[in-house]
C-alpha cells in the first residue's frame, strides 16, 4: 500500500511522479519530505504527476494543500498533473479543484510555469 515516488527534471521544472496511495502515514509523509527536500535544494517549480495515484484520503489531500502553500510561500509554484477521476472528484467536492492549477498534459504544464 506504500506510495511510489520518482523525480525528474524537464526544462527547469521538477516533476514528482507519484503512484499508489497518498494516505495518512507513509504516503503523506513521503510527499511532504520530497517537497521539502526540493525546496531545500532551491527547486521551486514543482509538478506533481498524480496519474498513477489511485487513492488519496483526507490526510493526503491535506498534504497536497500543505505542499502547495509551502511552495507558494517560498515564492515557488506547485501544480498538479493527470488527476485520476477519483482524485479529481475529491478535489471538486472539497472545493480545492479551483485552488490548484491542474493540468492534463505534461508539455503544457511545463510551459505554464513562470520564467525565472
Amino acid at each position: 500500500m506504500s506510495m511510489k515516488i520518482s523525480t525528474r527534471q524537464v526544462d527547469g521544472v521538477t516533476i514528482l511522479d507519484l503512484g499508489g496511495r497518498i494516505t495518512l502515514g507513509e504516503g503523506s509523509v513521503q510527499l511532504r519530505d520530497s517537497v521539502r527536500d526540493l525546496l531545500a535544494k532551491g527547486q521551486k517549480k514543482i509538478l506533481l504527476n498524480l496519474g498513477d495515484v489511485n487513492y488519496i484520503d483526507s490526510s493526503g489531500i491535506g498534504e497536497l494543500v500543505s505542499a502547495y502553500t509551502t511552495v507558494r510561500n517560498q515564492g515557488g509554484e506547485l501544480k498538479l498533473l493527470n488527476l485520476t477521476r477519483k482524485v479529481h472528484d475529491l478535489l471538486q467536492i472539497t472545493k480545492l479543484y479551483t485552488v490548484f492549477d491542474v493540468k492534463d498534459d505534461e508539455a503544457s504544464a511545463i510551459a505554464s510555469y513562470s520564467a525565472a
Partner: protein
C-alpha cells in the same frame, strides 16, 4: 444489490494505522459482497477509513492502551458501520467548515466532511469516554457525493 441481511461482525483493534487499513479493507469487502457499485464501494470504504483515522488519531491519539471498535452489519436495507474510540469525545458542531474560504487551505479537517458527503446517514454518540460514529449507506439508493 442484495437484500440478504448478515449478522453484525465486530472487531476490537489497537490504535494503529494497521487497524485503520484493516477496517477500510473490511468495509470494502462488505460493500462488494452487498453488490454495491464500484463508485459507492470507493465512497463507503473511504468514509469508513476516515472514521477509523479519526478514532485512532484524534480519539485515541495512537495510545496503545486505547482500543478502536469497528462493527459491520448488512441489515438487508442498509450497510451500517459503527466506529468507536476511547478518547475525550467529539462534538461535531464545533468542527470548522472545511469549505469556508478561511479554511480552504488548511492542512487538515476534511475527514468528517468527506464521511458526510459519502454516506447517507452519519450519527455521533458520546460514549463517555469516547465517541461512536455510525455510518449508514442505504442499499438501493442513488450514489451520493462525488
Amino acid at each position: 444489490m442484495t437484500g440478504q441481511p448478515e449478522r453484525r461482525v465486530t472487531y476490537t483493534l489497537d490504535s494503529s494505522l494497521d487497524s485503520v487499513n484493516k477496517v477500510e479493507q473490511t468495509a470494502e469487502q462488505m460493500a462488494r459482497k452487498a453488490g454495491v457499485d464500484e463508485d459507492d464501494i470507493f465512497r463507503i470504504s473511504m468514509a469508513v477509513r476516515e472514521a477509523a483515522v479519526n478514532a485512532v488519531l484524534h480519539g485515541n491519539a495512537y495510545d496503545p492502551d486505547k482500543r478502536m471498535t469497528a462493527s459491520f452489519e448488512n441489515t438487508g436495507v442498509d450497510l451500517v458501520i459503527r466506529i468507536t474510540d476511547e478518547g475525550k469525545g467529539l462534538d461535531p458542531s464545533t468542527l470548522p467548515d472545511p469549505l469556508a474560504p478561511e479554511n480552504l487551505l488548511r492542512g487538515s479537517g476534511r475527514g468528517i466532511f468527506l464521511i458526510r458527503s459519502f454516506m447517507d446517514e452519519v450519527h455521533f454518540r458520546q460514549m463517555h469516554p469516547g465517541t461512536e460514529l455510525t455510518l449508514i449507506k442505504h442499499l438501493g439508493t442513488a450514489p451520493t457525493g462525488a
